[in-house]
Structure formats: structure tokens, C-alpha cells
């Protein structure tokens, strides 16, 4: 059992606090949701967890060991993978090469990386796309390629930054099923940042809600759904409307 944690993490940009004393823990096989309105600091927290942004205060730990000062590629080699808003695929490379880059980045030979990439494409369900140039893919497939690329080398933790953005309900449901498989079959701890609150409520074991850089609520989906503070953060008022829940097939 592995554990990734942020301990009282703060980030300030020229005096502006993007994060204030944020605590968060993800364990192996667990799906943790990170939600909050725009500008809440969700992506900043992922950047801190993956070495792209240094914390002004606080620390990030993997199984108790500090990750501060590690560069992004070093964090990835410790088993913490991420995706990006907008995919950030290597658009001129074929899909299989997109996955292969992670393999060689982690020190595999090209032959070994190709073999794992082929297996991963199959597992994610996009094997027929192996030779397509990544920049020509439809949006939904791009997201699956990004997830497949991040899963190369079997990371212990996967941080997904708005993977369902722009997806239809059906596509979001399929994505949910894939994320659940990642946690259950690969034993990977997943941190899911998502604006689709319904998807997060229906999928996650635990949810952390950020607003203006601070944690305003944390708990199981049912508690989050009933939280007045969360509704207020999202809707600007203590609305009576329930937050939607996306039903996901197990």
C-alpha cells in the first residue's frame, strides 16, 4: 500500500496566495476527487504534486519521503504520473510513439517500450489507433491516449486534470469506467480533477473541495453532495438544487 500526500501546501505568486495550507492524501487503489470552481487552485496543486511548481510552504510526500526539490521527470520516475488539460499529446507523433516516449523516458529500450505501449493501447481500448498521428484524433480518443501514455511503466499514482472536459454524458460514463478499472485492476491511486461534479460524485471514494486556494470541505461523496459550503462555492448561494450524480457501471 502506497500513499501520496500533500501536507499543508501553500503556493504564492508574487504575494497572491494560490494555495493555502492544503492537505490531501491519496492511497493505492483509491479514487480521490478534487473539485472546486475555476481559480480554486486545483491545477496548481497537481503541479506541486508532480514537481512542476515548488510549494512556498508545506511538503509533498510519497510513502513518507519528501519529494520537494525533485524535477518533474524525477517525480514521474518515482511513480507519480499525470495528464494535462487539453491533452498535450506529441501531436506529430503516432499514437504508439506517444506511449513509447514514456517508456524510453523511464529508461526502457525502444523494443521494450513498444511492447508495453502495444499492451497498454490494448488495455485502454484504443489498439486500432496505434499508427494514427496523434494530432488527427478526435477529442475523446486524445484523452484515452493521454491516459495510456501516463499509465506506461505502471505508475503508483495517476493525477488526471479534467479528463472529461468537453465530453458527452456517454463519453464521460465510458471514461468513468476506465478510471475505475485503473484503480481496481492496476491498483493505482487516482486523483481526479474535474468540473463534471456528477462524474466525481459518482466515481470517487473521497472528495476534497477547494475554493480560493483552501480546502473548504472533505469527505465521502454523500457528505460533499449535502454540503452547504460546497453548493455555495459552486453556485454563489445556498441553492436548494442537488448536485448531479453520474451513475457509472461498475
Amino acid at each position: 500500500m502506497s500513499e501520496l500526500s500533500a501536507d499543508k501546501v501553500s503556493v504564492a505568486f508574487a504575494g497572491l496566495k494560490a494555495l493555502s495550507g492544503v492537505d490531501l492524501t491519496v492511497a493505492s487503489g483509491q479514487i480521490v476527487g478534487l473539485i472546486g470552481p475555476n481559480g480554486a487552485g486545483k491545477t496548481t496543486l497537481v503541479n506541486v504534486l508532480t514537481g512542476f511548481q515548488a510549494a512556498t510552504e508545506g511538503s509533498v510526500r510519497l510513502d513518507g519521503q519528501g519529494l520537494s526539490g525533485l524535477r518533474p521527470h524525477e517525480v514521474r520516475r518515482r511513480g507519480i504520473a499525470r495528464t494535462f488539460q487539453g491533452g498535450r499529446l506529441f501531436r506529430d507523433l503516432p499514437v504508439i510513439d506517444n506511449l513509447e516516449v514514456t517508456g524510453v523516458g523511464l529508461g526502457q529500450s525502444r523494443k521494450a517500450a513498444i511492447a508495453e505501449a502495444e499492451a497498454m493501447l490494448d488495455w485502454v481500448g484504443i489498439a486500432p489507433l496505434a499508427n494514427r498521428i496523434a494530432g488527427t484524433l478526435p477529442y475523446t480518443d486524445e484523452r484515452r491516449v493521454a491516459i495510456g501514455r501516463a499509465l506506461m511503466g505502471r505508475p503508483a499514482f495517476l493525477l488526471l486534470d479534467e479528463p472529461a472536459a468537453g465530453m458527452s454524458a456517454q463519453e464521460a460514463a465510458e471514461l468513468s469506467a476506465l478510471i475505475r478499472r485503473i484503480a481496481e485492476e492496476l491498483g493505482c491511486g487516482v486523483l481526479l480533477i474535474e468540473h463534471n461534479v456528477g462524474l466525481v460524485l459518482g466515481l470517487c471514494d473521497h472528495i476534497v473541495v477547494l475554493d480560493s486556494g483552501a480546502v473548504i470541505e472533505t469527505g465521502p461523496p454523500a457528505a460533499i453532495r449535502d454540503s452547504e459550503r460546497v453548493r455555495h462555492a459552486y453556485m454563489g448561494t445556498a441553492a436548494e438544487t442537488d448536485l448531479p450524480v453520474l451513475e457509472v457501471e461498475a
Binding site: 512542476f52 524535477r71 514521474r76 498535450r88 510513439d97
Partner: protein
Amino acid sequence: MSRSPLRRSLATPVLLGLILVAFALVAWAVGSKPFNQTIIDIFLKVIFAVGLWVFIGNSGVISFGHIAFACLGGYVAAWTTIKPMMKGISMPGLPDWLMQTEIPYWAAAAVGAGWAAVWALIFGAVLMRLSGIAASIATFAMLAMVNSIYSNWDSVTAATSSVVGIPIVRSVWPYLIAAILAVVLGWAYGISRHGLALRAARDEPTAAAASGVNIPRMRLIAFVVSGAIMGMGGALYAHSIGIVTPDTFYLGLTFITLSMLVVGGMGSLSGAVLGVLFLSSLIQGLRWLEAGVQVGTSTFALPGGVQEIALGAVMILILMFRPAGIMGNRELTLPRAGSDTPGRSGPTN
């Protein structure tokens, strides 16, 4: 599902090698000394362009400094192949063991490659942490620094004086072999895991870092490989003309080789090679026309300077209408059936 990167892209170095062999055969068949020298010069430019491509093409960082490595290689040829007595006159400050060293030209080319690679490692360890225009300016500073040292270290480099007495190699074949070797090295680098990782970092550095790619290290490897190729080219350049000065390896050679890479296409090994062949042929053709062509009893000659104007015009046209160069980032390859994407996993893209 897939073939290995080696088998998928093998056609590229084979085809490029055959084109170079064809050029050598033409030189051999024509048998004219000036034409022979022209083909030798083309092969040397191929070596330089391929050396540049290994770094620029794969990293996306424009380097103005690689001719410094050719300079290092050129002076290695001078230090190791000139007769000891002549070295004693022009470069009296050389250490005794080097003063007495006299090795064949091919060994000097190998030593020149190694010497340039060592310095590429030293310079690169600092420079490869930079990106974009900062890195480009730093490589130019490296070129200026090497030129300045070699222009002033009188006892070891003869400063700005010409170092003469380098054995001249007039046969086209050694240069052909070296050009093919450069192409094979460039191709091997391109299909290596380091080449793939660096191209990914060129296109999406953030995603590459998140994929575990150590970008400065990948750039450094490319810098050292390309430095070695340039060093080999520099040594052979010295043997092609028998004389070196620091300015032999400075701005003129820098900009002509960069132009050839831009015209051919920085995104592919084939672009690097074909850019040299295209521009060199154009320059040579215009030189002949400037010298005058006999048609019947009349001689037609272009005015002097047309060559430079035409070169500039070609550059402008390429940048306007085909900014990715003649090859448009594609590799020369055999037409084939099937669904494989051209150039997949090879040195292109």
C-alpha cells in the same frame, strides 16, 4: 502489430547513401580535378549539415555554434598530421609528444571527432539547461569564444596565420565514406530512444518531462553526438584544403550550413542531406555561369555576384512558400503498401 524502428526506417540511410555514391561516381567518371574538389566540398557540407541536424532537428534549439566543433577537429588534424619540423616553426608551443605525433588523416578525423565530443560535453553540460533563443545566443557565444581563443593562442594555433602543411587528401572516396558514416550516425541517433525522447521534448516539453524525459540530458547527448560529427568533418575539411585558420571555421561556414539545413528541412535527416545537394548544385551551376559558358562562337556569362543574390532569393522563397524546407519534415523512403505512417518512429517528425 509493429516493426522495429530500425527496419521501418532503414530505407532512408540506404537511399541517401546511394545518392551520395552516385555523386562520387559522377566525380570519378568526369575525372576533372575542380569537379572532384566540388564533390568533396559537397560531402563535407553533408557531414556538417547532418551534424547540425542531429542537434537542431531533434531538439528544436537553433545552434549557431556547431562550427566551433569543426574548428576543434580541423586543428586536431593540423596538430597530428603536419610534419614535426613544420609544426615546430608554426606552432612551437605544442607539447613535445604532440609535436612528434604524425598519424594518418583518417586517424586524425577520428581523434578530431573525439576531441570535439569532449568539448561538446563540457560546453553542453552548461548550455543544455537553456532553451529557445537564450540557448541559441549561448551557442553563438561558444563559437565566438573558440574563435577568439584559436585566433590568439599564437604558440599552439599560430593565431590568425594560416597553418600550412596539412597533408591534402584529393581522392573523393574517403569523403564519401565519411559522409555516409555521418548519415548512418545521424539515422542511428534518430531511431534511438534518445532521439525519440528529444523530439517529444522538442514538441511538448512539459508533457515530455511528465513522461520521465530528462530534457537537459537528452539535449546533451544530441549535442555530443553532433559535436563528434562536426569534429570529424572539420578534420577532413582541413585535409581537403591543406590549410586552416580560425576564420576557416567561423561565420561563413556557419551560415552556409545553416542555410542548407533550412532549405532542405530541419525536421528530417533527408532534408539535411538533400538541402546540401540542392544548394551546392545551385551554387556550383551559378559559378560556372558566372565564369562563362561557350555557345558556338559566343560566350555567355552571368554578372558576378548573381550566385549570392540567387542564394538569398532561394532562401526567401523557401521560407515564404515551404517553411519546413524541401522535404517538409519527411524522410526519403520507398513507397510501400500498408497502414504504417511514413517515417513512424524514425528520425523524422
